[in-house]
Amino acid sequence: MSSAYQLALQQLCDSALPTGAFAHSLGFETYIERGGVADEGSFGVWLSAFISQQLTYSDGLAIRFLYEDADVGELDEHLSAQLLPRQIREASTKMGARLLEIGTEVFPSAELEAYRALVTTGRAAGHQTLAFAVVARSLGVPFEEALAGYLFATVTSLTQNAVRAIPLGQNSGQRLLRKAHDDVAAAVEHVRRLGRDDFGAVSPGLEISQMRHEWQRARMFMS
């Protein structure tokens, strides 16, 4: 075993971690409904945009700021303000609540307890990204490993959801994940170079699709 945190990080990033990620498309279901996402190739285009936009400018930067000692309460407030599509904000806090709960049981730390206390007293919303970052940091996971782990875990859940929803074959899903390695690596590099003012600069197209999902008639996913 190379590092003490390895197995913990694997558990935290496992798509079987019961946070409810299977219930969220984070906007791609809107593209399926409009026909923009219909097969392996088109889902790959969406996934790539999602990684370089949402996961970079919102989630990725939030994780970096937390690792740079930003106040978790302030970051939580900024995430709540920045996630403009309601379903995305709610997905984040719904999965965040589960992760806070699981983390408290299996990876307890003073930092996690402090964040959870903010949430239970109504002073923070409890975002999944921050709960993940707090746990990973408390376990001693270096920043870049934590970030890459988080990004790829999200990509894996989304791809599994797409395999069910589009639907795609299982091998398609694996090819998509392999191709996403490069996008995740690029995102990790990009997140390192961004500044405070870049936080939350998610593209209009992704946000619109996430907003439109609220009014979509037939849906498999909560977001």
Partner: protein, 330 residues
């Protein structure tokens, strides 16, 4: 504020400015919650930390006097001023038109706008023409806007569209502070720009950032952080997941205690009637007030203006019994 107090609709005389040393450096602030750009932009919207004085500066304070909203403080300097105020209807709302006599933003230009609408007053603030950003070699043009609304105060911000030309970089930073009973409406259109060869998206960077905070009895809380960053040279911004094949972007921001899901549903139905791909959603509710964001992609400024006009028209009618805006006749 260093603004001179002047009678309404009179031009200010430029006072001397003292500039403090330059704020530390560019984009990539290493420290987490304080990017350099923001460190250089104090909440007041003053440009005191800039190396050079702003190219244009405008400050306007509106208050309610005997049923009419009037400017109680007005100051401008350099390449920004306002036209004489007018009243579009009998509601007492005052309308000011911002003018940039130079007609365009160039490299390293800084414009600073500071607007306060006091309790119970109402302001409609618009522009005389499109905001045009020309080439900004090696630097960027910038507008910093600071808006403060008192209890029951209303502001409708309806600038003309933004056009960024070839090799232009532009930053617009808007800080809005509302009280729980304030009403804030802002509609904006961004075009894909223009270049001599007719190809769009030839500008270098557009960065438009709106921070809206609600100041309640327990202090201020960030309600919305609306950040738009378009950098055409870095990646294809035209396709799926970004501009979705469209060229123009419209946005509407409403913060008002009367914003609720029923209104969102209604506006969402309204947007479907226009030639645009739109989405709309509510922020969380803080201290009794809620924000609503509408984003629309289209291929035409006119279509977006019609869509945004229909939405603001509905709000004007519903909340104040006012007619829809028809600014072009003035």
């Amino acid at each position: 504020m260093s603004g001179a107090v002047l009678g309404e609709s009179r031009a200010g005389i430029s006072p001397g400015r003292v500039s403090s040393p330059p704020a530390a450096s560019p984009d990539l602030g290493p420290c987490p919650l304080r990017g350099a750009h923001h460190a250089a932009a104090p909440k007041s919207g003053s440009a005191a930390s800039s190396v050079v004085p702003p190219r244009g500066e405008l400050s306007l304070r509106i208050a309610e006097r005997a049923g009419r909203s009037v400017a109680v403080q007005q100051f401008h300097q350099g390449a920004l001023r306002v036209l004489r105020p007018h009243y579009l209807d009998q509601s007492g709302q005052v309308c000011y038109v911002m003018v940039n006599p130079g007609g365009a933003y160039l490299g390293a230009d800084l414009y600073v706008v500071d607007v306060e609408v006091e309790a119970g007053a109402s302001l409609l603030l618009t522009t005389q023409s499109a905001t045009k950003i020309y080439r900004t070699p090696g630097s960027f043009a910038e507008q910093r806007m600071s808006i403060r609304l008192g209890e029951g105060a209303q502001l409708e911000l309806a600038p003309d569209q933004l056009i960024a030309y070839r090799e232009a970089s532009y930053r617009q930073d808007t800080h809005v502070t509302v009280r729980p009973t304030s009403s804030f409406v802002m509609a904006e259109v961004i075009t894909p720009g223009w270049s001599p060869d007719g190809v769009s998206f030839k500008y270098r960077e557009l960065r438009l950032r709106n921070e809206i905070q609600v100041e309640g009895d327990d202090g201020a809380v960030l309600l919305a952080l609306d950040n738009l960053l378009i950098r055409p040279p870095l990646a294809d911004v035209t396709g799926m997941g970004f501009m979705e094949g469209y060229s123009h972007l419209g946005s509407l921001v409403v913060v008002d205690p009367r914003v609720d899901q029923a209104l969102a549903d209604e506006l969402n139905r309204l947007t479907a009637e226009y030639g645009a791909y739109s989405g709309l959603s509510l922020t969380r509710t803080l201290a009794g007030t809620t924000g609503m964001f509408l984003r629309s992609l289209s291929n035409s400024t006119e279509e977006l203006n019609r869509l945004l006009g229909a939405c603001t028209g509905l709000l004007r009618e519903r909340w104040y019994g006012r007619a829809p805006l028809n600014l072009r006749k003035y």
